[in-house]
Symmetry: C3
Subunit: 264 residues, 3 copies
Amino acid sequence: MLNFYGVLEKVRSRSPLVHHITNWVTIYDCANVVKAFGASPVMAHAGEEVSDMSGLADSLVLNIGTLTSEVVASMKKASKTANKKGIPVVLDVCGAGATPFRNRICAKLMKEAVIDIVKGNYSEIASVAGTKAKTKGVDSTDTGSDMIKISRGLAAAKKCVVVATGKEDIITDGRTTLIVKNGHPMMSKIVGTGCMAASVIGAFAAVEGDRVLAAASALVCFEITAEIAAIKAKGPASFKEGLFDAIPGLDKRTVEKMAKVSTK
Amino acid sequence: MLNFYGVLEKVRSRSPLVHHITNWVTIYDCANVVKAFGASPVMAHAGEEVSDMSGLADSLVLNIGTLTSEVVASMKKASKTANKKGIPVVLDVCGAGATPFRNRICAKLMKEAVIDIVKGNYSEIASVAGTKAKTKGVDSTDTGSDMIKISRGLAAAKKCVVVATGKEDIITDGRTTLIVKNGHPMMSKIVGTGCMAASVIGAFAAVEGDRVLAAASALVCFEITAEIAAIKAKGPASFKEGLFDAIPGLDKRTVEKMAKVSTK
Amino acid sequence: MLNFYGVLEKVRSRSPLVHHITNWVTIYDCANVVKAFGASPVMAHAGEEVSDMSGLADSLVLNIGTLTSEVVASMKKASKTANKKGIPVVLDVCGAGATPFRNRICAKLMKEAVIDIVKGNYSEIASVAGTKAKTKGVDSTDTGSDMIKISRGLAAAKKCVVVATGKEDIITDGRTTLIVKNGHPMMSKIVGTGCMAASVIGAFAAVEGDRVLAAASALVCFEITAEIAAIKAKGPASFKEGLFDAIPGLDKRTVEKMAKVSTK
């Protein structure tokens, strides 16, 4: 059986530094969730220092949620440093499909540097893969198309791991495909769970070379805390509080008992 | 009687896309409150994509809380697209009166595009209307002047709906004037309730053509949740948690029972 | 005995305006904590208005957490206005030591304007003082070196008050040195307590001319609320909620009973 908890343990013991160049909406939550899982977040986007910061880091997380040309230029620089250093780069294609600018930037970022893990919801991943899909703001609406096939194709074409989140999360490198069935509908009732998931993946990929396992472990652990939080939640805010509260105490028994993962 | 709950129901069933170009302080809360009310938020400020994003949206919310020249340029572009498409534009004149730059920008934004709803606290609205009023940071301090008269005059001059928030909220298009007496003093103990109110107005105006009714319904619903949250709050943080928790469950009976609105 | 509560009382009664030019990660919490303590926060970073805003303010807080060249230019402008007006300037050297760019900016800001209070964790302060120290992201890791000596030296050299936070906080102007032993390990489990501490110092320094006393009072009051919050916290999120909830009710008896301050 895959040892998801083992990856969490490594995050906690090594406390990797996760460099983010991210959006202004969920930047606090991304930093805070990485810290709750036992890693060290750092957010820095100035062109003058992103290479140095990625040079110190154990992984790099890019999120295009509120991208501008200046920030994208910094993303490229940081990616190149990360590639040279051999640390994993996670790209959250947040809002892909919504505007031509966003699509262009996604393509550019994936062309000019190696992106190790591409993460988005179903419609964002479909859009990056060049398949027709409807993106409404940052919420996923596509459910009809064969997302596993699309994700595998994108992974093979771009030689990366693809993480497509939705009711069931798909994680694939084109050959191995894992399906994570954890999580709770309440996750879609607050802003930022998608961004946070990408940041957690960044923390887990920093300590685990098998990137499919790293991404799956991250989603399993994050989504189990959502299931725990949902039990006592009275609404979206207490749900989020419960989610963060549950992270540091997440133990082996709970992860092993609650993980719902299958191979496709 | 005015059907405030009916507007909330339309927000929930249609889930309009609310495009924000807003400040970096309360951007998360603005997105999150729009989501809690059942609408879809999207925050995007890059000049390269704001027109496309507003072109997809059902309303546009502008907030000058941490404005810069670049962001203001994007606000103008987005407003023009919104005007062409006929979707409502809400402008939160956050901090108006504090600096000449902020006043100049407010005037410019209202001159170069149609702003459908101008929202601010008493002193901000007084400042935009050209009346002397004291603004201290982003907190309203003016109470002496005749705010109803000032609001009506501004609405008539600019052909827009004016929302002046304070102990009693004034909503007017220059002819019809509604006074909302909901809310709770705790709202002024946390940062962001003013910005959130503008975002909720953006969500409600997206589904209701009568803009006075839309803005009043938004304030009634938002402020009722504040009253509910205040009952069990132990301080500003649990108040905010209670406020967000109360939003999704807000029902017809509660809104009809608790709404305190009069016509002036 | 030093009257820490007396300074808090002055913050509450005068409600000083605290102008921030800060980072995009913790900007909301910085504003919110200042408000919880009874002061008025305003965040503004546009070059066109920072001088006017500092001209209205009672203190200025600078934080280089997510600095860019544009924001640094605004920091310089605002500092000069603050110096002219005679209001205190607090600089949080967030992440100092991590990159050459960040070190260069710290040096520049302290050279081109008078910084009244420099605040950082042990490794950040050591870095600013030119001593070797390891900074990992924004978390303090240095504990070995003689931080009191380093802090005093920096204070004397730069003619400012130095606040070095860690397990024990050091506050010194080079002659008088206070050690604050309040606080709780949970503070390091959430993002932003360091930034918030700097903002609270900004609020307290706005009303108290003795800057060592102002900074110590700020830390004592902020960290006592952390101790109170830790009692019932179930995890990092409920800890943070409890911390904010405890601030407005903090009373004389509690502060006098719980303050742990010694002179070195």
